[in-house]
Amino acid sequence: MTPLGVVESVAAVSAEPAATSAIELIGITKAFPGVVANDDVSLRISCGEVHCLLGENGAGKSTLMNVLSGMYQADSGQIKIDDQVVEIDSPKRALELGIGTVYQHSTLIPVMTVIENLMLGMGSGVRLPLKTSLAGLQKLASSLGIEVDPFAVTGRLALGQQQQIEIVKALWHGSKFLILDEPTSMLTPQGIAELGELIKQLKAQGLAIVFITHKLREALDLGDRISILRRGRLVAALGPDELRAGSREEIQGKIIGLMFGQEKAQLADVAEIRDELTGRRGRQLKTAPILEIEGVSVEPRRGEVGVHDVSLAVKTGEIMGVAGVDGNGQRELAEAIAGQRHIAGGHIKFLGHPITHLSVAKRQQLGLRYVTDDRLGEGIVSSVDVATNLVLKRIGQRPFWRSGGRVCTPVIQETARELVEEFDIRTPSVTTDCGTLSGGNLQKVVLARELSFGPKFVVYNKPTYGLDVKTTMAVRERIRKIAEKDEVAALLISTDLEELLDVCDRIAVLFRGKITGVVDNQPGAAEEIGRLMIGGGE
């Protein structure tokens, strides 16, 4: 279909509201080595509805949608569109069948312009279909009520705008079915509201929207129909009637029960269902600051925002949060504090001493630790065993290495066993290659390493991202506990506002590399933070 196809098909659908298309997934099973991601899942997606696919991380939602979008092929099962069996063997076929997908991680090419990204794979013939594409973009954008500069370089646009372009791209082929995979993880509260409006509009135009999320609130806000996945299985499908039968709390409780199994229904502090905490902290903290950042700036690299003239002070034993949409300088800030990045201006003091020019290793020894969000890429070395990874920041130090440089393997392994026990790391043994561990256990390894040997201050960068609920709770509990008992202060960087409100004493907000404000964790903090996340008092 041509870029203009969607407008035509939309017109056709609106003219006949009774004729709705539907996709049926029947008995879809998809397994990977060691994991059955989808186990005999059947559901129906109809036009004119927002169908939410809800489940915690690892439940199999993304896998199911990858099957629908042609990236994976199911091991068994059938897919029918309008009662006709179809084979979706490639992304190209999915597009031909009218299925457009917005993936969780951007599939736009940052160095290319918007129009180039949209023309990719579109043209038939030699020359790029520039004229028709520009016209089509114009029509599509105005029908969706969004503004787009076709010649803007994609990587320089705000994340919310980039997502809009991804939606445009998904609809470019005249799709009837739009899949959105965790679309709100990168958005501000306002951006989420705008997305909600767009979805309502698309629904009105007769499209089917599949909305994948692990956030219960979003599913309840937007979904006409909610299908719940747990450990690869479809445990419930709640239609519009069931979603209206009862108060919001009742339905929430019911859904949580279904998401986690009845025996876990009393997990009262699951992030999703908790309302804002009322002045949970109010702890008595020593006023002596343990970490002071003054006027710190970090040069941005390709695709980054950098950090500009940031000042913060964290007290001993305090948990300071850093809120903000991903990509506003969090990584740069964390790395600057850890010593992995060169600071272009300003200075950092730790326990009163300047550490601006100290190496990573020195800062480690002083008790300044960094739990990175990039577990596989940076946090561990996959080809090295678990035990060595646990002492990776103590290479050459006693008692693990003797003064000649020779390694003391038994000592390392003994220490490793203790840490595996304490942090509940699931691994066959301490000599297993670290790369074979699951995401949750990798995070535990990183935590075990950073929190051992007398930490005084820890920078946590998205420590619970992508983890299942049990591990998430354990991590938060540990952060709280060591802060209260051992006065281990923390800078908790997170894109999950619920998490910050759950754990932190104060919360700073990072926007475009600047701190737009610091908020005490009191009632009303959430609104204040939301305001600061989009630029604050401008």
Binding site: A361, V381, L392, T427, T431, G439
Partner: protein, 387 residues
Amino acid sequence: MAEVLEISEPEAVRREAVARRGFLNRMRRGGGVLGQALVPIVLAMIVTGLILAIMGKNPFTFYDQMFSSGLFNWQGFEQTIIRMAPLLLMGAGLIVAFTAGIWNIGGDGQFLMAVAIVCGIGPSLMSAVPRALGLIILLVVSFVVGGLWTLLPAFLKARYALNEIITSLMMAFIGISLADLLIKGPFRTHLNTVPQTNVIPFQKLLPAIPGTNIHIGILLALVVVGVIYWAMTRTGFGLRMRVLGANPRAAVHSGISVFKMTMVGFFLSGALIGLAGGTEILGVWGYVRADWNPGWGFVMFAIVFLARLNMLACIPIVGFLAVVQLGGHTAAQNVGVPDDFILLFVALILLFMAVTDLLRTGRLFGRKPKEIVSVVTTAGRLEATDD
């Protein structure tokens, strides 16, 4: 139904069974490497044999000649052992580099520069100082010269993340030409008209192992290989190098000084290769002629991959290469094919090795393929872009 998010039990158990514990297991692993190396070698031999047949030569005669003159003949065997000395040192140098994630392609330049300097100052030095002292000094000189020749590519990589494949290769070409210039110029002998250096007399070269014609360079090489192996596997320094090579970003994150490790690793690599040059001159030749370039750098490249970067497995494989080179040279002459035929054989080994490794694991020795950040890149950038 298996637990979502946990590792699969059978996989974990299998990996546990291959745990790196105990001498016996290590030996078994080394043996495993050799077994795997055998397949590409055999395949290469078959294809090379076919090519010979197409050319009208008898492959069996060729291989028979190759092994009998290289291995089963005492003089040939001695020559093979002698050849192993510089090759082992070069192998150690390359393995050190690769362990740290450094692609030192410029080995030939480092080798020849060391050779040129040793031949330049050697004759006069050896006539001025006692033999043992002179030999030690010259070996150290070859070590240092080889290391120094890596400094520019090393610095560019360490400081600017400039791709070292290109820079070390350029330095190799420069080094080869510069060595020639030196040999034809300041180091040239006045005793005859052949463009060569003065000669260190035979009795002043490295002594032979008693009862043989094999010079002690091989012992030096074996000791060095052992030391390097120990350092890479049992010390903090070795672990830092391994981490740097396996995951440079994790190295930064762990507080390893990437700059220092890169410079040291590169230097050590070049130094070992330079030492190989010194050993070959001081053990076999005593002088060097202009335009001499055995070109072992590239070939050893293939060999260390075949040995899967395992220093111990390198020893028998280098032995095999020595047989191929020396025995192959004789066999090629007798059968009537050009010497460069050996190049073909080695190339086939490399390609077959890539295929067999791919078929087994889908990856080349479990390493992620090297991500090229760029030849020219932003200052201080260390991590590869990921996709």
